[in-house]
Amino acid sequence: MRLASSVKPGTAKTEQIILFRVSGQLFAVSSASVQEVRGADSMSGAAVEISAPGIRKVQQVVRRGDRSLFIVNGAMHFGLHAAEGTLIFVLRKTRTALLIDGIEKMTTMTRLQALPQSFCHEERQWYRGLTALDQSVVPVVSPEGFLSPEELNLLDAALLQADTNAAGEIEETNSAQ
């Protein structure tokens, strides 16, 4: 009986990964996907509140020039118990800054196995696949999987609305003066 190979083609080479925790659960992310690691406090200082309908996992946004980074609460994204995040991963080539509990370690992944087809819901967007490390199995997150294009549209709309409201308030203050 021949089974389909569940190893993704071209994954024989090793890949540096960062193991991190969200609400006690271990995850991995490619270190190449992480642009910066920041303390949550230092990042939150520059963040402004945002509220988009149906997207509770994003409550803050950071402006960087003409770019906005949405801070995604990792625990809420994965449906885990709320935990106070202490670190933020700014994910490369995305508009996501991921709030996590902490970094476990950096290591090397030699094999990325595709997520079994039985997993057929949102997790297919969340994960690139699974990897076996030290007789354990760790999901490898997909940086693009934290915010869907629809969610980004809603967040952009909420951001625009917040900007409009702020501009209105400034205008009112100036008129009053």
Partner: protein, 159 residues
């Protein structure tokens, strides 16, 4: 004069879930293994508990007892590792079972239209009529995202 009747015997693995027995085509069975550590991680697919590591392969664990019995298994003795079809692709899936399994050769009666989708057919063994499971519809996958509406069906009829 003798009339030769052609009986097509097929191999099935009998498995036990709680007090009931079910059958799966032997062609679909890879192996029967002792329970090992289940690795859990966040996901949204119902009935999937997590994954086990088996011979370097990551195998999802799918508990079908709630669909077939209406309740979750309190004890499990083995994982029956079966081959699940996803279109042209095949993957292993581990199904927790409560007792030892048995290989039998019998003739299968085809399922009727009134049978639940997870019924591939019926077979008679030891005075019992036993449901043959269609794992492709019983376990979740992209073509058949498992819903809570899966029918609880009477499987074993004692004669």
């Amino acid at each position: 004069m003798t009339v030769a009747t052609e009986i097509e015997l097929q191999s099935f693995v009998l498995l036990r879930l709680g007090e009931r027995r079910f059958a799966v085509s032997a062609k679909q069975i890879a192996e029967l293994v002792a329970p090992s550590r289940v690795f859990r991680f966040p996901h949204k697919t119902p009935k999937l508990e997590g994954v086990i590591l088996r011979r370097g392969r990551i195998v999802p664990v799918c508990d079908v007892s709630e669909i077939l019995l209406g309740k979750r298994l309190t004890s499990r003795r083995f994982y029956l590792i079966a081959v699940r079809n996803y279109g042209t692709q095949r993957e292993w899936v581990a199904v927790p079972v409560t007792g030892e399994c048995e290989l039998i050769n019998v003739e299968m009666m085809s399922a009727s239209e009134s049978d639940a989708p997870h019924v591939a057919g019926w077979l008679s063994h030891d005075g019992d009529v036993i449901e043959v499971l269609n794992l492709d519809t019983l376990t979740p996958g992209p073509a058949h995202p498992l819903t809570e509406s899966a029918v609880l069906h009477t499987a074993e009829v004692h004669s």
